[in-house]
């Protein structure tokens, strides 16, 4: 069975790209539009193998979302990769403080994206 991935991004284009790229890599992708929907999806799907999350999102941003995920006991060790166009160090620091495992800078290279996911999921 392929890896189960939750991808959270408010941009439909990025969601489409993620879904297409990850499905092509044999992964099973669940999409959410913002942090609130991301949490709702987690409640329904249980523990995914990895989570990809944007930072700038309405309702609940990436920092808040990651923080909330880490508060859920079974999710404490889920790898969470931050998808962001920001490469500013303070954003990485904030993402790290919230509990991010790593990051992928958009525009992502499909090969690297898949590689990064495999890297944190084994």
């Amino acid at each position: 069975m392929g890896l189960r991935i939750l991808a959270v991004d408010d941009s439909r284009t990025i969601r489409d790209l993620l879904a297409a790229t990850l499905s092509a890599a044999g992964m099973d992708v669940t999409l959410a539009e913002d942090g609130v929907e991301g949490l709702e999806m987690l409640r329904r799907m249980g523990r995914p193998d990895a989570i990809l999350s944007d930072i700038n999102m309405p309702r609940l941003d990436g920092f808040g979302f990651i923080h909330a995920v880490r508060e859920i006991d079974p999710m404490r060790a889920v790898p969470i990769l931050v998808l962001t166009t920001e490469s500013a160090p303070e954003l990485k620091t904030r993402a790290r403080e919230a509990g991010a495992t790593g990051w992928i800078v958009k525009p992502f290279d499909p090969e690297r994206l898949v590689h990064s996911i495999r890297k944190v999921t084994g």
């Binding site: 941009s11 439909r12 709702e40 409640r43 523990r47």
Partner: protein
């Protein structure tokens, strides 16, 4: 991923851009009136999302423009610049330019010119001044090649015969490594995949695995890696944890040193536990969950999720529309056949047909609703027209909109853009006075144009009203007389004078553009509206303003028609375009025209021209004229 899939996502990206531009415009309008922190966030996110998607498709110009805009918005978001009136005007200009960039990118055209000056003005808002012109965007846009993900087999093996280098790596995780979902086991496995790895685990002498918390790091590792890899390859393995562990990497290219490493572990006080089977003892996969995970509830005041939508190719909707059109025709023909066969008196048949008619019309309405779109984006484009036209003339004009959610057929909206632009530009150009004239007339210096849309009796009414100078009827009349459009002694009502503006001979006349009312190209506007099956009327109050009303059909897709048989020929006229049939003798009302099989001397008038003039037999069913396709 196939090229088709990629193209579909690209097309979807440009659709999303249009939606983002809409929310950007909304939020900027809100910011102009004050707004709050979330308003700025919405603005930032819209530009940010456009940049992100554009990057994925290698749209360099769009990325570069969005990036510079975004940088200033970030300063706004962090409170380093204030949303003053001047700043918001620049944001509007930049939003318009961003829209131009999006459209240019969608069309594969060159980036619009003239963006540089606005960007520089925008960047001048920043407290530290504009960034260096040569400063690169923070990432390089890159084109996606999805074929590369899986297609290629591994690169050919190296044929070098020299001894591969040996690397000595020390890896000591910090507590944070474990709380961020990182996993030393995976790092070790990734290193092992690079070559031959000998891994030693350093554990404290008093380590008790059963009581150890996974989040209290007690282990560290030394790895000796033999393989044809560079230091960068090894660093890449660690790139998510560089800030979460002490990591040292150094080459050990003397093979004899390997023994030395084993003999002299760096941590003299700790036991060295060889881990030939790597870290297989580390429990990695927790048991799969069988029960739903309890989650903290989202904020109770969080906005409800957006209504669920499905994106459908317009071609599919149009195909459905066509089929529904055929269905409507079929229903009408069936009703006619049933009536001709004398079966209409049969209660069951009549009731069944009646229900068929209702259902058909309901389906037709439902399908039309799919094609319907709100007028809001159209109105937003008018906001830009007003900004640009008023800035060029030194006037200040604000736009008020009403009924933005009113929906009209997509095609009608598309074809309405040009005439509406013309009318709005006219309102700014000829309707609204200069600020000093307005003040002298006791009006506020800022003019107001109101755009409104509403459904009225199965049609859409769009009005453009200004609080400008109004139509100078004396001049209009004088000019009309001068051009021979109106007899000198004609008795004309105010409304009749106002509507002279639409007369072709009047509006194309040279010199009228200086008229302090309306008149330029109004006949063109009327033709465009008429072509849509609409009507345009004007009303004006001198000194107080002018109001143009466009009455439009909800849709162009299915029309009712009146079928007329004339001298052995069958004619069909769209019933809402054709005027009522009329005749000279005996006088006939519209009601009598619908009476079956009445014969009269009549003319059928369609689109203002006489279509047929003859002894006409008008044939109509019990429901009125037979429905047919135009």
């Amino acid at each position: 991923m196939s090229d088709d899939a990629m193209l579909a996502i690209r097309a979807s990206f440009f659709e999303e851009c249009e939606e983002l531009m809409e929310s950007l415009q909304d939020a900027l309008a809100l910011l102009e009136r004050g707004g709050d922190g979330e308003t700025v966030n919405v603005i930032f996110r819209a530009v940010h999302s456009i940049k992100g998607g554009a990057g994925a498709f290698g749209l360099g110009d769009l990325v570069a423009f969005a990036h510079r805009f975004e940088t200033v918005l970030e300063a706004l978001r962090s409170g380093r610049i204030e949303p003053t009136g001047g700043a918001v005007r620049l944001f509007f200009q930049c939003a318009d330019l961003l829209h131009d960039h999006v459209r240019a990118a969608a069309a594969g055209a060159a980036a619009p010119e003239g963006a540089g000056a606005v960007l520089l003005a925008l960047e001048a808002l920043m407290p530290l001044g504009p960034p260096r012109a040569d400063e690169p965007a923070e990432f390089t846009p890159l084109s996606l090649d999805f074929g590369a993900v899986f297609g290629d087999p591994a690169a050919p093996e190296s044929i070098e015969v020299t001894e591969p280098p040996v690397w000595r790596i020390d890896f000591r995780p910090h507590p944070r490594l474990y709380t961020t979902g990182n996993e030393p086991l995976l790092v070790l496995r990734a290193l092992a995949a690079l070559g031959q790895a000998d891994i030693l685990c350093n554990a404290p002498p008093d380590l008790e695995l059963s009581g150890a918390s996974a989040e209290t790091p007690m282990l560290s590792w030394q790895i000796e890696l033999t393989g044809d890899v560079t230091e960068a390859d090894i660093r890449e393995v660690f790139d998510f944890v560089t800030d979460l562990a002490d990591i040292s990497i150094r080459p050990l290219d003397v093979p004899g040193n390997r023994a030395a490493l084993a003999a002299h572990p760096p941590d003299a006080g700790s036991n060295v536990v060889p881990l030939p089977a790597a870290a297989s003892r580390i429990e990695h996969n927790p048991a799969p969950l069988t029960t739903p995970v309890p989650l903290p509830r989202p904020e109770p005041d969080a906005a409800p999720p957006a209504p669920a939508t499905v994106r459908v190719d317009l071609d599919r909707v149009d195909r459905m529309m066509n089929l529904v059109g055929e269905l409507v025709i079929n229903q009408a023909m069936l009703a006619q056949s049933v009536a001709d066969a004398g079966l209409a008196e049969n209660g069951a048949v009549a009731a069944g047909l009646e229900e068929f008619l209702t259902l058909t019309r309901d389906i037709q309405d439902s399908v039309m609703m799919i094609r319907a779109q709100p007028v809001k984006p159209l109105f937003q484009r008018m906001a830009r027209v007003i900004r640009e036209a008023s800035a060029g003339l030194g006037k200040t004009v604000r736009l008020l909109t009403e009924g933005e959610a009113t929906e009209i057929d997509k095609t009608v909206i598309e074809r309405l853009s040009d005439p509406l632009t013309h009318l709005v530009r006219n309102a700014v150009d000829h309707g609204i006075e200069m600020p000093h004239q307005r003040l002298a007339a006791g009006k506020p210096a800022q003019g107001t144009i109101t755009l409104s849309a509403a459904h009225r009796a199965g049609r859409v009414l769009i009005e453009i009203a200004d609080d400008g100078v109004g139509i100078d009827r004396a001049r209009v009349r004088a000019l009309a007389v001068g051009r021979g459009l109106v007899a000198e002694n004609a008795q004309l009502s105010d409304a009749e004078i106002d509507n002279i503006l639409f007369a072709p001979g009047f509006s194309t006349a040279a010199g009228v553009s200086a008229l302090s009312g309306r008149g330029v190209g109004m006949d063109v506007v009327r033709s465009a509206i008429t072509a849509l099956g609409g009507r345009v009327t004007v009303s004006s109050e001198p000194g107080a303003g002018t109001r143009l009303s466009l009455s439009l059909p909800l849709t162009l897709a299915v029309l009712d028609a009146m079928v007329v048989r004339v001298a052995g020929q069958t004619l069909s006229c769209p019933s809402r375009r054709s005027s009522k049939p009329w005749c000279s003798r005996p006088p006939m009302s519209a009601a009598s025209a619908a009476r079956p099989r009445s014969c009269m001397s009549a003319a059928i008038c369609c689109r203002s021209s006489i279509l047929a003039r003859s002894w006409v037999s008008v044939r109509a069913g019990p429901q009125g004229p037979t429905g047919s396709r135009s």
